[in-house]
Symmetry: C2
Subunit: 279 residues, 2 copies
């Protein structure tokens, strides 16, 4: 059934936002100032047609733009941009209930200039926090949205090319160029962990944050803050629940949102569920 991977991806999005504590992110116990739990539920439902498109053979870029358009229409906010940029190729690479790095790499390698154009068009639907474009290519600024499509086309860039240009400063793009390495590692951590899947998702989030600085935090707050957050996460990996909750409260108070780490957590949940992880 073509919709099975779409349903699994959809559930991964819901479980990701419900897992708690996920320091600095909306979770079962915390909202951000203008971004609530309800927006993540609605964003996940709105994005679903794009996931179905990915599961039923639509081009990766087109499916992604469909997902973002639906998310934005449902919430008027960006809840899942990075998450969907990971889930769409993973869903497209899922075959007969199986997902593996090699198939995922094939999907991203097969992306075309048309997929890159779709990706740029997705920025027309919603405001996304991104870094500045490379100095040699201001015409490729993703914030230009569809206005940048002609530049993408004249340079002949595929969507994978666009992702390569964003690595390593963007942790989502890095997954595209590394065979979704952290995604698959996270999936195994979720499958082998203890507790409910919500607890295992929260543990996986902290483990990811402890290993690599969050690139959304880097973009918004600079490398020093991102490093501080990662060091504190590392110090808490075997810490008490209370200490992790205090860290979570502190990040929310300071407006520090490791959103890329949440994106990889959702992608890891998708792979884990596809591979039979229990609730």
């Amino acid at each position: 059934m073509g919709n099975r991977p779409a349903s699994t991806a959809h559930l991964a999005m819901l479980l990701e936002v419900a897992g708690t504590p996920k320091p600095g992110n909306v979770d079962r116990h915390r909202d951000l100032s203008d971004l609530g739990f309800e927006h993540f539920l609605a964003g996940a439902v709105g994005a679903r047609p794009g996931l179905v498109a990915a599961a039923t053979g639509d081009r990766v870029g087109a499916a992604f733009e469909t997902a973002i358009a639906g998310m934005a229409a449902a919430t008027d906010r960006n809840t899942h941009f990075g998450t969907l940029l990971l889930l769409v190729p993973l869903v497209a690479a899922t075959d007969d209930g199986t997902i593996a790095p090699a198939a995922t790499e094939r999907v991203v390698e097969d992306t075309t200039i048309a997929d890159a154009a779709d990706f740029y068009r997705a920025f027309d639907h919603v405001e996304v926090a991104v870094g500045d474009p490379p100095a040699d290519a201001p015409d490729l600024d993703v914030r230009r949205g569809s206005d940048a499509v002609s530049a993408v086309e004249s340079r002949g860039l595929t969507l994978l090319d666009v992702m390569e240009r964003s690595t390593p400063g963007d942790g989502v793009a890095r997954e595209w160029t590394t065979g979704f390495e952290r995604t698959f590692e996270t999936a195994e951590r979720i499958r082998s962990g203890d507790g409910s899947i919500l607890d295992r998702a929260a543990d996986a989030f902290l483990a990811l944050l402890a290993r690599d600085p969050d690139t959304l935090v880097q973009t918004r707050h600079g490398e020093a803050v991102a490093r501080e957050v990662t060091d504190r996460a590392a110090s808490l990996e075997d810490g008490s629940r209370e200490a992790i909750e205090a860290f979570a409260a502190d990040l929310v108070d300071r407006g520090i949102n490791p959103g890329t780490t949440a994106d990889v957590t959702a992608a890891g949940l998708y792979v884990a569920l596809t591979r039979g992880a229990s609730l």
Copy 2:
């Protein structure tokens, strides 16, 4: 688009379980002993094909059985039986983005013996807490599931007939036989309330519980307990958040779960969202 009502119903299920405090129920802040938040998320995703079937013209009974089969396959639990028994006819009655009591009454009046048979078959998929059958019709015990279908057929009962036999002891059946009166009232309360939709859903739940004893509590714990719960809810309608949270903790401790009230809340959310309620 046929899937629009299905998506709205799906979102209503997610918002219902997230609203807090909903005393005695799984909500954003509470799990029950063998029934967690993650099961409600998975149950809502699993039920979706049945909602799509209802939105695209499948028979009400068949769509309901599809929804229950999907829910049970995803969770091995009963998370949404009563909720889906309300949402399926509401989705079927939604036409061009409009839902009204008259159309809903037509849908339930048009149900057939085949729909009743499907309803009984749905009990094969999952264990549901129900009262004893009428003394004059032990062969119609829903707990017999598909084994009761021949009795349903030989008596010539439609699904609406079955619901009439369950009223007034079952608050879900009562909606079927009263033009979904409490559902539409709840929708207007949610549309006109204050706060986020999660807060408005929780307020609507308490208002419903304060007005009528929950029939699931009646079935499991008797009328006196159901009455006590309703009296306490009524005393708290203008109470402090702390007092309502204490009530919620007490009901969870005592294993008292006003699940029918949650079902009507979800149905009210569906109507409210269809009528343009904001998040």
